[in-house]
């Protein structure tokens, strides 16, 4: 579905990604792992159009989408839940969700909205509340729900577990799994390696801008060398 081949990207003179390639097959969950500064978020920004890669090619559903703007990519079906959630703090929960459907003009927006409120009861409870007054976990749910309102084929999640309590993190991963089961392909960036791999089909490991390992999620989880080198020792 998504094919990233040999992209280079960076900020100004600083090259962050060096020849990164990855592939996401339809219906799967793929996780990109790596330490701080490895280039995970930069990869996400490149795929979602926030950053133009200086070399390489990105294709989506067989079409070359390299260098398209974020709004064009969203119309093609790639939605991003940005790092740090980026809720519209001054708008209500309902307005935030409506903004997710900004580019849509069909008649099913309202029914999608209701579905979303059913799916996330806590959001329904607080639909009139300003986005900024929600807790971290609720904001993350709102950010995910808002992205789904655009009816994406591919959902990009940039560190959805960041800054959340362990219990809430488990909740968020459950939600991601459910979204995937209802037919949306997911590309995930995480530091929370074990939990992310548990729900994933495939994983990639980034280190200082280079892809250093990849494989099935179960393989990566059982590869002691990789787990130790890149993802930290199991602390039990």
């Amino acid at each position: 579905m998504l094919e990233v081949s040999g992209i280079h990207a960076g900020y100004g003179k600083i090259q962050v990604l060096k020849d990164v390639s990855l592939e996401v097959e339809e219906g799967t969950i793929v996780t990109i792992l790596g330490a701080n500064g490895a280039g995970k978020s930069t990869t996400m920004k490149s795929v979602s159009g926030l950053l133009k890669p200086s070399a390489g090619k990105i294709s989506f559903l067989g079409e070359d989408v390299t260098g398209l703007r974020p709004d064009q990519l969203l119309r093609k079906g790639i939605a991003l839940v940005p790092e740090g959630r980026q809720i519209l703090a001054g708008m209500t929960v309902l307005e935030n969700l409506e903004m997710g459907a900004y580019h849509r003009k069909d008649s099913e927006i309202d029914s999608d909205l209701n579905k979303m409120l059913e799916r996330f009861p806590i959001l329904k409870e607080r639909e009139k509340q300003l986005g900024g007054t929600l807790s971290g976990g609720q904001q993350q749910m709102l950010a995910i729900a808002r992205a789904i309102m655009s009816r994406p084929k591919l959902l990009l999640l940039d560190e959805p577990s960041m800054g959340l309590a362990p219990l809430v993190v488990a909740d968020i991963f459950k939600i991601i799994k459910e979204i995937n089961q209802s037919g949306t392909t997911v590309l995930l960036v995480e530091q929370n390696a074990r939990q992310a791999l548990k729900i994933s089909d495939k994983g990639y490991v980034l280190e200082t801008g280079k892809m250093v390992a990849s494989g099935n999620a179960t393989e990566l989880l059982s590869d002691a060398r990789i787990m130790e080198a890149y993802l930290g020792k199991r602390s039990s």
Binding site: S48, L50, R69, P70, D71, L74, R75, A79, L80, V81, P82, Q86, I87, L88, A89, G90, M91, E95, E98, M99, G100, Y102, H103, R146, A147, S150
Partner: protein, 325 residues
């Protein structure tokens, strides 16, 4: 009786209030995407000079001059809006302030065209043109008990009032439309707006162009009402004055700049003795507002409270049906 009530001086003050309201709205529009533009005095000058020169040298009808003046200002808005897309906050303010000064310096130095700092006089006067046209149809102001002078100012005032109402109506509608939502989302969080599929480049430049268009329009009206313009009319002081309307009245809702422009234009006229200290008072207002009420006098909670009160009173008297905001 009507004739005694219509005092050209009051009408002129009324006209300035309306023009200042339009100028206040022009800053509000750009600001509703989170961009602070201090170039609106410059855009106003561009509109004024364009229209004045076209009507004087090419004998164009005033309406055409005003429209072209506003469009040229909008074009300049796009030209400055695009390179400043990446700038935010105080940096954008500095660049736009600089742009305004550049425009003023051009007016002063391009003497063959603009008459330099002497300014342009003998600009066709809207009120007189209206009167002339109507007289062409055999209308005489005396027939409704007015002197020519009174009729001229009354016609300008009514024209401006209609235009101002249209401008307010249009931008309130826009605020509630897709465009308004996009503006609001960009103001709240550019990154989030972008990830929601809002083309932020387009909307930010659009807001800049709209602000410039409205300011240019106000400038062109100003030129044809005063019949005389000079570079000093569009200098730094004007930019600050327009900004004060928004800072004082509020930038969250359109009623903020409207109230700010109304109050601050009327104040020096009513209290003549303070008009000399005008700019001192403006400075004081900025400082006090920043410390006490940075969002301006009129904000969303205040409007909600007012409309609730109104509704209660309405219910008591059995009229009800108040629209909020």
């Amino acid at each position: 009786m009507l004739a005694e009530l219509i005092n050209p001086y009051y009408l002129q003050v009324g006209c300035f209030i309306l023009i200042n309201i339009i100028l206040g709205i022009s800053v509000y529009i750009t600001l509703s995407t989170g961009q602070l533009s201090l170039a609106n005095a410059g855009f106003m000058g561009i509109g004024a000079y364009t229209s004045a020169l076209l009507t004087i040298h090419f004998d164009l009808p005033i309406i055409i001059g005003i429209i072209i003046g506003a469009l040229v200002a909008a074009l300049c808005g796009v030209l400055i809006g695009i390179p400043t897309l990446r700038l935010q906050g105080v940096y954008l303010a500095i660049v736009t302030l600089g742009f305004g000064e550049v425009i003023r310096v051009i007016f002063v130095n391009w003497e063959t065209l603009t008459n330099g700092s002497v300014g342009i006089s003998g600009i066709p006067h809207i009120g007189r043109e209206i009167l002339k046209t109507l007289q062409g149809f055999g209308f005489q102001p005396m027939s409704i008990g007015l002197q020519n002078n009174q009729f001229i100012f009354l016609s300008i005032f009514i024209l401006l009032l209609l235009i101002t109402i249209f401008v307010i109506w249009f931008f309130r509608r826009q605020h509630q439309s897709r465009v308004g939502r996009a503006f609001a989302a960009i103001k709240l969080d550019e990154k989030a707006a972008e990830s929601m599929g809002i083309n932020i480049t387009y909307y930010k430049v659009l807001a800049f162009a709209q602000g410039a268009l409205v300011a240019g329009f106000a400038g062109a009206m100003y030129a044809h009402i005063l019949a005389y313009i000079s570079p000093a009319d569009f200098a730094y002081h004007r930019a600050v004055e327009i900004l004060i309307f928004v800072v004082f009245g509020g930038s969250e809702v359109i009623w903020g700049p409207i109230f700010g422009a109304f109050f601050l234009t009327l104040m020096p006229e009513v209290l003549r003795f303070i008009s000399e200290y005008r700019y001192m008072i403006y400075g004081l207002i900025i400082i006090i507002m920043m410390a006490v009420r940075p969002q301006g006098l009129i904000d969303v909670p205040l409007l909600k409270a007012l409309s609730k009160k109104g509704r209660k009173r309405g219910q008591k008297h059995g009229t009800g049906n108040h629209k909020s905001m």
